[in-house]
């Protein structure tokens, strides 16, 4: 039963990825230094790759990695201190029965705070967002510097430097190692949730590029981890649901040529049903808590789209109401712009234009504003004005794909009598939570 896709090494790598946050979290608690913890974990992984294929994986891979990593790092220190001989490798190649329950006791109780600390360190307020994301992907998700560099379209050397700088800042900052209180925990999870959402958006905004699209999966993994730490926190359920529901559309969001496909025009059979079902289940669970928050509302919006088998089945009145709730919680011109798209479907393009009129100033430099405005005008057959809005949008387009999306509208504005009805879905992606 051998299969190249199923070599042991691939599955050992999956086990190491899964064990990483907890093992790294515990090693960080022992050594109180990110670099030492990382080296210790790296060494433990190398030994795992050597020993597990022969002996089979240990019963408790996390405990194994923590103990082997800790011992390896301590050996390293001792060796550096007095050149003492090392114990034979086989002696620490698996836990014996006395050590296993000890590791369990040591680390089971600390699991939650260890992992949360690890996540929290990456979102230290002194770090700019770009460094937070890079550090989390390196330290928690275990991506290589090369992978992260490719995802952020910078050179490996530049990314290396970015991560080194982030670590240096953290080393200087005060990182609390005692178990946090309830209030502090709650603050930490908010910070971590925001960082995870940023990671997701990095991938989502460039989903046609496979190197970057992987970031969405990484963000989903991190959100799962966070929900494991706070299983009864509705906003974390909302966050994971939001990411799952958005990412479920990944295969339908771009056509074969890499051009973006608007929500209305997407082939919904390409949507990932399993992700949608999980997202809907989490929204459902979160709503029971009757403690709404921005992630839950955004997830509910994505869920409303997810429930519609065809674009014309979309409950736009519900989406309008949800955006109204989001406007109340997190007032922002971008949220209002998104709401206007729903309003155009429920009350027509005139009402939508009236709604976005006050946004002309704050969003004057925002691609999606002019795209949406043009689409509303086009629906009203005010083609000349639509053309002006589309021209402005093109001048602000960040990518070639964005520009070509608008050019298709321009073609319509230029006199295509069969102008498509129901356009105007030029709404921003999920990046409107900030």
């Amino acid at each position: 039963m051998t299969d190249t896709a199923l070599t042991d090494t691939a599955f050992i790598h999956a086990a190491l990825t899964a064990a990483r946050p907890q093992a790294m979290g515990a090693l960080l608690r022992y050594f109180r230094d990110l670099d030492t913890a990382e080296e210790a974990y790296q060494e433990a992984c190398l030994r795992a790759l050597k020993s597990w294929p022969q002996k089979g994986p240990p019963r408790d891979p996390v405990a194994w990695l923590i103990l082997v990593g800790r011992n390896a790092a301590l050996d390293g220190k001792r060796r550096a201190a007095r050149d003492a001989p090392l114990p034979p490798d086989a002696a620490i190649s698996d836990l014996d029965d006395i050590e296993a329950p000890m590791a369990e006791r040591l680390d089971g109780a600390h699991y939650r705070d260890d992992v949360l600390r690890l996540l929290f360190i990456c979102c230290h307020p002194e770090l700019p967002h770009t460094q937070q994301i890079a550090l989390a992907l390196r330290v928690v998700s275990g991506l290589s510097v090369k992978q992260i560099a490719r995802a952020f379209l910078v050179s490996e050397a530049a990314m290396e430097q970015r991560i080194t700088r982030a670590k240096a800042r953290i080393a200087k900052a005060e990182v609390p190692f005692e178990a946090p209180g309830a209030v502090e925990r709650a603050e930490r999870f908010q910070t971590v949730a925001a960082m995870i959402y940023l990671v997701f958006n990095e991938g989502y905004s460039a989903a046609a590029d496979p190197a970057r699209a992987g970031l969405c999966e990484d963000a989903i993994r991190l959100a799962r981890l966070l929900l494991r730490l706070f299983p009864a926190e509705p906003e974390i359920m909302g966050l994971l649901a939001l990411l799952l529901l958005q990412h479920a559309r990944a295969r339908a969001r771009f056509d074969a040529a890499g051009e973006p496909v608007l929500l209305d025009a997407q082939d919904r059979t390409l949507w990932d049903r399993e992700r949608i079902i999980e997202g809907l289940a989490l929204v459902d669970k979160a709503l029971r808590h009757r403690a709404p928050g921005p992630y839950q509302v955004q997830a509910a919006i994505a869920a409303t789209h997810g429930r519609a088998a065809r674009a014309e089945d979309t409950d736009w009145a519900q989406i309008d109401a949800l955006y109204a709730a989001l406007e109340f919680m997190r007032p922002s011109p971008v949220v209002t712009l998104n709401r206007a798209v729903a309003v155009s479907k429920v009350k027509g393009p005139e009402a939508a234009l009236a709604m976005i009129a006050p946004l002309e100033g704050p969003l004057s430099g925002y691609f999606h504003f002019h795209g949406a405005k043009g689409a509303f005008l086009l629906q009203l057959e005010r083609n000349a004005e639509a053309k002006v809005a589309f021209d402005t949008a093109i001048s602000l387009a960040g990518t070639a794909a964005e520009a070509s999306q608008i050019r298709r509208y321009l073609d319509q504005a230029a006199g295509d009598s069969a102008a498509k009805k129901g356009g105007g879905d030029v709404g921003p992606g999920p990046a409107d939570a900030s």
Binding site: F11, A19, E278, K285
Partner: protein
């Protein structure tokens, strides 16, 4: 005799599989299941969503308490099960071995079924 084969695995590990790894496992399982179905030994099977989607009704008090999460916080989680038909435990274990070979890691619990009520809804999906 009907047996339930309960599939336990660390869901963190299963979630860390790449899409290709997951698809490869499911494809291998499909081959085994197809063979067992032809032999009249495979009944219904299902794969559960992660435990983060689970809710537990605790009946230790009145009214029962609704708790987010699975019944038990364990290292390995119940991720799905198969219903199979076998003459005896040896037969059930043979099926479990075949399923296990297609699906790396974790554990399979073989449990005889005491009462089996099939899905009687009109047009129920089998």
């Amino acid at each position: 005799m009907m047996y339930a084969i309960l599939c336990y695995h660390e869901e963190d590990v299963v979630c860390a599989w790449t899409k290709e790894q997951d698809d490869a496992v499911m494809a291998r399982l499909a081959v085994v299941q197809e063979r067992l179905t032809k032999e009249g030994r495979m009944g219904a099977s299902l794969r559960l969503l992660p435990t983060s989607a689970a809710t537990t009704l605790r009946k230790s008090q009145e009214p029962p308490l609704v708790i987010d999460g699975p019944f038990a916080e364990t290292k390995e989680q119940l991720l799905g099960f198969y219903l199979v038909d076998a003459d005896d435990l040896d037969g059930a274990l043979e099926i479990a071995r075949a399923l296990g070979e297609a699906n790396p890691g974790g554990a399979l619990e073989v449990r005889p079924v005491g009462l089996f009520v099939p899905d009687m809804r009109q047009g129920a999906k089998s």
